[in-house]
Structures are given as C-alpha cells and as structure tokens.
C-alpha cells in the first residue's frame, strides 16, 4: 500500500502500487485477504475506485463496526503494509465505451465506489456519453467523493441533511428515478450498486418505469460481514 486518504469519517481510499498488475475494467472488484498470526484468514470483496489506466489501484473502504476486515482497512492499515489482493474480478458489472450510453448510475452508500470508476472512466475517454449519477447517502458526512461530485451528481439524503438543503431527502423511488434519470426510450445502461434491499427496490422501480431488464446491471453487498 502506497498511500491512504480519508474520504469521510468512516471511509478511506487506499492506494496500491501493484507491479505486474494486468489492468482492470471499470466496475470490477478485488478480493482482499487478511491472515492473522494464528493463521485465521478472512476475505472480503472491495470495488476498485480508480479508472482503468490509472497508474495506481485505489480501493475505497467504508468501516462496518462489526466487520472483520473493513475496520482494519478503514482505520489501521498504513502505507508500506503489504496486503494480499486477488483480481481483477468480474465481467458482468462492467462498463466500456463500446457499450455506449447514456449511463444511469444509481448508488446506495458505498455502492458508489464501482460506479465512480465507471464515471471517471467515462469522463476520461468518452465525455460525449451522457451520464446521470444518483447517490443515496445517510447524510452529508457519509457522501463519498463529495468534492469531485459537486454539481455532477444528484444526491438524496435519507437521514440527516445540510442546513438549507433543497434537494431530495428520501429513499430512491420511481418518481425520483423518472425525474433525475434519462427516460426508458433513451435506453440508458443502468448500473445499480448498494445494499441488497436498495438494489432490489431500485431495480424493480426501473423495470416499473419501463427500463429494459437486460440493460439493468446490479451488484449487491451485504449489510453484515465487511
């Protein structure tokens, strides 16, 4: 690990130098394996935040208080530490410019991480492809990449909101997706990532609005385990 920076009070971005890394595609993840001194091993999947072609690999990890792996990554790990990674993994939850657009990227919490890799990749190599980023966060202190997304994402806060907030303040629903996103006739490529219940609700709402099921890709992460 080469570098670490805080994103929010609960999340950090870890940067890795990986000699021999074969490169990755936007949306892929890696498995992180930690081995304790007694040989006990724990493994978790973390999405890659950096776009393809970046010189270093970045993971953003949010701490789950009862987790086995994330507290160490989000609080303890230091530059110079060596960590076992396996990947890149996945070919389904992936976007490449050849797949076209427009893009509708819908994130719940740290489900934003793989969608950020997609959005960063789009900006770098296909800025002509239209994209809508819709992020649901508990509150302003939980919003990842806030500076980078300012003015470039639609945000909804589900628990606490900044003073004077005039934006969305509820869970993502059909009306919000219809207002904020492109219409089904535009055939947007939809990527939805977040906790299981978030993904189920958003995917069903997209189908109800008339979006093509085959254009909706989903990735769920658990509320426990991290």
């Amino acid at each position: 690990m080469a570098d670490v920076r805080a994103e929010t009070p609960r999340a950090r971005t870890l940067t890795f130098d990986l000699p021999g890394w074969p490169g990755h595609r936007a949306g892929q993840h890696v498995d992180v394996r930690l081995t304790a001194e007694d040989g006990y091993r724990a493994q978790r999947s973390y999405s890659i935040a950096s776009p393809p072609g970046a010189s270093r690999l970045e993971l953003t990890v949010e701490r789950l208080d009862d987790g086995e792996v994330s507290p160490w990554l989000a609080d303890e790990a230091r530059p110079g530490d060596e960590i076992e990674l396996r990947g890149p993994i996945g070919g389904y939850f992936v976007w490449e410019p050849a797949r076209g657009g427009p893009l509708l990227l819908v994130a719940g919490g740290s489900g934003l991480v793989p969608l950020m890799a997609i959005e960063r990749h789009r900006r770098a190599v296909a800025p002509e492809v239209a994209s809508t980023v819709l992020v649901s966060a508990r509150g302003p202190e939980d919003l990842l990449y806030a500076g980078e997304l300012e003015g470039a994402a639609v945000v909804t806060y589900t628990r606490t909101r900044p003073e004077g907030w005039t934006g969305y303040a509820r869970r993502v629903d059909e009306a919000m997706l219809a207002e904020a996103g492109p219409p089904p006739e535009a055939r947007p490529r939809c990527f939805v990532c977040g906790p299981t219940s978030f993904v189920e609700v958003v995917a069903e709402a997209l189908v109800a609005l008339g979006h093509h099921r085959a254009l909706i890709k989903t990735e769920r992460f658990g509320a426990t385990g991290g």
Partner: protein, 86 residues
C-alpha cells in the same frame, strides 16, 4: 428481504479461481425451473465457510462451495448447463 443475500458478483473470485474463466458473465441454466441468466444475477449466501448459489427465479440451490483447510468441495447439482463466454 434477507440482507445477507448477495449476488454472483460476490462469489466470483472463488469461482474464477476454480474454473479459470470469468464467471459473472457465464450463463447458468437452473435444473429446477429452467431459468437462465448470468451467474452475477444468482442469489449468493456466503456466511458459511463457503458459498451457496441459488436461482433468482425459484431459489433452488444451483451450486455450493465449501472451503476446508486442505481442500475445496464443489457441488453443481442444480445447474443443468453452463455457457462460458470466451
């Protein structure tokens, strides 16, 4: 809804290591109900020392993986067919 339920993206690292192919786009056909779809969309439960993949249509078990200290057990009884994208 069971918040512990994940999807085939979560088990992909273990499966990729076993089969040496990219598995999330691999299409599986459920033996029980015939539904077919990419394994990324299968329901995955990974709280045990392994993984269970279930059909997103009928919840039948498609496959199980159990990691033991010295070997890995793989059961594919619920998969009628796999179509591997090259």
């Amino acid at each position: 809804m069971d918040e512990r339920m994940l999807d085939g993206n979560a088990g992909a690292g273990d499966l990729q290591e076993l089969f040496a192919v990219e598995v999330t786009q691999t299409v599986g056909v459920c033996e029980a109900c015939g539904m077919e779809g990419p394994l990324a969309e299968a329901h995955v439960y990974s709280l045990a020392p392994g993984l269970t993949l279930r059909c997103r249509g009928c919840e039948a078990v498609l496959a199980r993986l159990v990691h033991l200290p010295d070997r890995t057990l793989v059961e594919l009884r619920g998969l009628r067919r796999l179509e591997i994208v090259r």
